[in-house]
């Protein structure tokens, strides 16, 4: 890359918070780098300082306890797929992880980076929305917890303020065992951004849908009940989204396929 920047790699979470606080305007956090490095290369982002969050102890911690599954900011998408806890307790999380990009990218890309990037086509967001996950947000001045249903603020925008970073994602223990399936429509069978993606989860009679690539942010739909028909479920999902036409597909095609996927999932996820 021709563009030059400084690289910092704090060794503790507190040091990371302090460094980030000192570079609110000119610093960018580096997790997997699979979005940041191409963006710098293409001139979209021009940070003076790149702050690597993978090098502090605990950043890559992935553990299951009484609170649920705790995902550190350096945990990669393939770490999720290799985790016995994630596979056995959170199949919807793994289904979404498996649809994200290619094997090499999943080896680097982090779950935290995928949601902080806040792309409408985020593949991890649907799982975190349906499973009721929370974002633990840290800064030099403290910590706050925000549910993912309130985390996304717009295209590529989140509620993170300058100086704040996502220090953990917690998928609650209550969501363990939820059945689920993610259907992602792509232009090719291999790795691609989604044209649309629909996840449905079902646990103890509670149904949830989440949709990617269909609105400025990933969308959670929690109004569908067991009493609905498949058509009613699809109507409720469609009423919550506002897809656009772009290079990957038209608004009409997206709406049609969201309906197809919602009906299919409603029938098949038992």
């Amino acid at each position: 890359m021709v563009y030059e920047f400084r690289y910092l790699a704090p060794r503790t979470a507190a040091e990371l918070a302090a460094v980030l606080d000192g570079h609110k305007d000119d610093g960018k956090l580096l997790a997997g780098g699979t979005d940041l490095i191409p963006s710098i290369r293409n001139g979209v982002l021009k940070p003076k300082v790149v702050i690597d969050l993978k090098k502090y102890s605990g950043a890559d911690r992935l553990s299951y306890g009484a609170d649920g599954l705790s995902i550190g900011p350096a945990v990669t998408v393939n770490d999720i797929l290799r985790s016995k806890d994630a596979r056995e307790r959170y199949p919807a999380l793994c289904d979404c992880a498996h649809e994200l990009a290619s094997h090499q990218i999943r080896n680097r890309a982090t779950v935290a980076g995928n949601v902080v990037n806040a792309s409408p086509c985020s593949d991890m967001a649907p799982a975190l929305l349906c499973l009721g996950a929370k974002a633990v947000i840290r800064s030099a001045t403290g910590e706050r917890v925000v549910p993912f249903s309130q985390f996304f603020a717009g295209v590529k925008k989140t509620v993170l303020a300058p100086g704040e970073f996502l220090s953990a994602i917690v998928v609650p223990a209550e969501s363990a065992g939820a059945r689920g399936r993610y259907l992602k429509l792509k232009r090719i069978a291999g790795h691609d951004l989604g044209i649309v993606g629909v996840l449905m989860t079902r646990r103890d009679g509670e149904l949830r849908f989440a949709v990617s690539s269909a609105a400025p942010t990933p969308v959670l739909v929690d109004s569908v009940t067991e009493k609905d028909s498949a058509d009613e479920a699809a109507r409720k999902v469609l009423a919550s989204v506002s897809p656009i036409s772009d290079v990957r597909g038209t608004k009409e095609y997206r709406e049609h396929m969201i309906g197809v996927y919602a009906r299919r999932l409603f029938t098949e996820v038992k």
Binding site: Y3, L30, G33, I37, R41, K54, Q104, N107
Partner: protein, 161 residues
Amino acid sequence: MRIQLTVNGLAYERDCAEHRTLLRFLREDLGLMGTKEGCGMGECGACTVIMNGRAVNSCMVLAVEADGATIRTIEGEADGPSLSDIQKAFERNHAVQCGFCTAGMVMSVKELLSEHPKPSADQVKEAIEGNFCRCTGYTQIVEAVLDLTGSPEKKGELEHV
């Protein structure tokens, strides 16, 4: 920044610009030109190397991030004039045409076989989904891997196009 890393079993210590990618570092600082740059943004997989046991796109890793890492590149495959088993299988099955994607393909397959010594055809396809080939059309590449591993799925089941 001063970095230390092991590449194909050899320890290196070098000064490296902080914005330099691992790909550029391998090619231009260490002279290991086997790893290729295709798209430079994680689409094509030509730059795939194995970092701490995992296949990664070296165009999207900073060399300074690899401080302390163990790297394998295509140069670590052959032993002098003797090709590795994966390379021999590629040769035997005509899985190489222009060769530009081959280094990355071989590294992706190497990581796959380290975890799954007898992969199914689908597992092979998934392992190389991030590696673009614009010549052979993938079938010979999948056949080469199944030929090498003697996997349960016979290569005749693959569809030639």
